[in-house]
């Protein structure tokens, strides 16, 4: 039948254009990257078994609390946010939840060589050192000492952390989430000078970037945006998914409503179409 032939032609060209400007064009503009690597394979894995009690001693001896607070243990950060911003560019994180938020091997690598784990070697040098001082060991087996420190952090961290708290502890030092009235703890001027640019507000980022993009980007920013000053933060898969869930809750709050209403609108129009078709057949019977 002629009408179906014409419909076929129209649909074919419409689909061709859609394919060309959406999936095809995007595959050309945003080359595919490997999926997120939550094992942080490039940093290697330790075979040492950490001892939390020893780790607590090491933690104090290594001077971590010279910069970091551990509020759950009653250890207050030595500087307030304003002073820390000026001193470091960005407020050093409180470590109460670090043991759960971040991957174990990542933390070990981070303590030993921050710029490598964070993938910010392009930004820092001996002339311009990273604010987090590398741990040189306490005189014993450095690998054992670090493993103990990480075991200690894991022992004090709560096992289940809610989505927003993950964002606060892992992202809020730099990023705002202004649609949830969450603002970065670091001072904007100091932060901008430190990062080279003001880190973006993340309120609508869930709509600006796909979940797939966010998953690989947060896991390793360099992979999607080579040269970016955002460090690799080392979140575990669970923590990263919590961050993304929080971003979706803030930036796409009406998603559930949209998903639910869609069916009803489509069903309504399908019913309208059916009735319109029956009416059309009835009317055209008289003229054909």
């Amino acid at each position: 039948m002629r009408e179906f032939k014409i419909l076929g032609v129209v649909l074919f060209f419409t689909a061709l254009i859609y394919w060309g400007v959406e999936p095809f064009a995007h595959s050309q503009m945003h080359p595919h990257v490997d999926p997120a690597d939550f094992a942080f394979k490039d940093l290697g894995a330790t075979d040492k078994k950490g001892d939390a009690a020893k780790g607590a001693e090491n933690f104090m001896a290594a001077g971590c609390i010279g910069c970091h607070g551990v509020s759950s243990q009653g250890l207050v950060a030595p500087m307030d946010n304003a002073a820390a911003s000026v001193a470091f560019g960005v407020v050093p994180p409180d470590l109460s939840t670090a043991g759960t938020l971040y991957d174990k091997n990542f933390l070990i690598a981070l303590i030993k060589e921050p710029t490598k784990a964070l993938k910010v070697e392009h930004k820092f040098s001996e002339a311009k050192p990273h604010p987090m001082v590398q741990f040189f060991g306490l005189g014993g087996d450095i690998n054992q000492e670090v493993a103990d420190i990480v075991a200690y952090l894991q022992s004090i961290a709560p096992k289940d952390i809610d989505n927003k708290k993950v964002f606060e502890d892992a992202c809020q030092r730099c990023h705002d989430m202004k649609y949830d009235k969450v603002f970065s703890t670091s001072q904007k001027d100091a932060l901008k000078a430190y990062m080279g640019t003001t880190p973006p507000d993340l309120s609508m980022m869930i709509r600006a970037k796909s979940k797939d993009y966010l998953s690989t980007f947060i896991n390793n920013p360099q992979k999607q945006l080579a040269g970016t000053s955002m460090p690799r933060v080392g979140l575990t898969e669970v923590s990263q998914n919590k961050v993304i869930a929080y971003m979706e809750k803030v930036g796409d709050r009406k998603k559930a409503e949209r998903d639910d209403l869609g069916y009803k609108l489509i069903a309504y129009m399908a019913l309208f179409t059916l009735l319109a078709y029956l009416w059309k057949v009835k009317i055209w019977k008289k003229v054909h």
Partner: protein
């Protein structure tokens, strides 16, 4: 003065004052449409429905939108999308309808080209139609600026900059259009005015003329058959409805259109709720930042073909700068469709493309070329892409230069050259 009697009902009361019965006849029940048509003839009504959807959703958005560079982004993405009940629905409907209306405009336009519905008395329909296309383009461009996202800003920057290529007055013109030296608050506010007032008014006026222009030459049919509408209408009114070649606009023609509109809106609401990225580009959910140029700047899909004609000429030819050639080609692309009725030198012979020995090839080459331009208009213009764009842009121009020649040849061999 007419004689007024006691009315025997509401309709009669109105009829004595407004001649509503006569009006209904002229506009609806005795407005005759050819029977030999297919669903492509429903696109006009689909466009009317989409335009109404845009106006209604636009009115709701207008209640919360703030045309100020400091609050525009948040008024759209926070107030409308999150705070206002079903605000997201109106925005999604508005955004998807704006994109979908161009798809239907293109189908409507190419239907007209295919069936030769732009000539032999139908020139004004074509001209007003292309004027509508132009104003809808301005409407889409100004609307895209309003959320003040990254692509709103950068598209405005690039497109307003194009006017700078116009000799002598270019530089002053760009500043006049922007209302500032850069795309800034003044630019946003004036494009807001254009989007919600001046352009919609012009569109409504042009639609009226477009419809009116249809009344005298009548709607074309799928075999471009010419017949006496009055005679066929009489047959219909005499009860010979099966024999007559025409049907009334209401209820017969519209009953089919309602069905087509129904199918279309079913797909439309699927797109609104589940598949909207093609119409609401994710990059525009990042707030405008004049310090951060996006990696890829491209217009919405419906402008890509003309954008690629602009970009296609990427090297200097004979001492003329690539940019100037591109701009000239871009200008050509934007007016050439307008004068199509006058480029077709076979003006007295109306026939669908498949009955025209040369035009049919011209038509399908044009369709394919514009699809190539559209796709390559989005791809990064590097390496082979640039060359594909160049040849596709060149093909587009050659096609329109060739059109008078091939239609003249057609006219000669058909002996229709009067």
């Amino acid at each position: 003065m007419a004689e007024y009697k006691k009315a025997d009902g509401m309709i009669d009361w109105l009829d004595q004052r407004l001649a509503v019965k006569k009006l209904m006849k002229v506009m609806m029940t005795e407005y005759w449409i050819p029977k030999n048509i297919n669903f492509l003839w429903a696109m006009g009504v689909v466009l009317v429905v989409l335009f109404k959807i845009l106006i209604i959703s636009g009115i709701f958005l207008l209640m919360y939108y703030k045309p100020d560079i400091n609050s525009a982004f948040d008024s759209v993405n926070y107030t409308i999308m999150q705070e206002v009940e079903y605000g997201w629905l109106w925005r999604h409907v508005h955004g998807v309808a704006a994109s979908a209306i161009f798809l239907i405009i293109y189908i409507h336009m190419f239907t007209g080209i295919y069936y030769g519905s732009y000539k032999k008395g139908r020139e004004i329909i074509w001209l007003t139609g292309m004027a509508l296309f132009g104003i809808f383009s301005a409407e889409a461009f100004s609307g895209y600026m309003l959320p003040w996202g990254q692509m709103s800003y950068w598209a405005a920057q690039v497109i307003t900059n194009l006017f700078g290529g116009i000799p002598v007055i270019g530089e002053a013109l760009v500043i006049w259009i922007r209302g500032d030296f850069l795309v800034a608050d003044a630019t946003l506010t004036r494009f807001f005015m254009l989007h919600v007032l001046l352009l919609p008014l012009a569109i409504i006026l042009l639609i009226a003329v477009h419809f009116y222009a249809l009344r005298f030459p009548h709607v074309n049919n799928q075999d471009a058959e010419e017949f006496d509408f009055d005679k066929e209408a009489k047959k219909y009114l005499d009860g010979k409805t099966k024999e007559s070649k025409v049907v009334p606009f209401w209820p017969v023609f519209l009953s089919k259109d309602f069905f087509v509109v129904g199918v279309f809106l079913t797909v439309f609401f699927y797109l609104v709720c589940y598949h909207y990225d093609f119409a609401m580009d994710p990059i525009n959910f990042e707030p405008a930042n004049n310090m951060k140029t996006p990696a890829h700047i491209y217009p919405e899909w419906y402008f890509l073909w003309s954008y690629e004609v602009l970009r296609g000429f990427f090297f200097d030819i004979g001492g003329v700068a690539a940019m100037d050639i591109g701009l000239a080609a871009f200008g050509f692309a934007n007016v050439i469709f307008m004068i199509l009725p006058f480029l077709d030198r076979n003006p007295y012979h109306v026939a669908p493309a498949h009955q025209r020995p040369l035009f049919k090839y011209w038509f399908w080459i044009l369709v394919l070329d514009m699809i190539v331009l559209t796709v390559y208009g989005k791809l990064p213009p590097t390496g082979n892409n640039a060359w594909v764009g160049f040849y596709a842009a060149l093909t587009f121009i050659v096609l329109f230069i060739a059109l008078p020649i091939i239609t003249k040849m057609e006219a000669k061999c058909q002996g229709g050259d009067k």
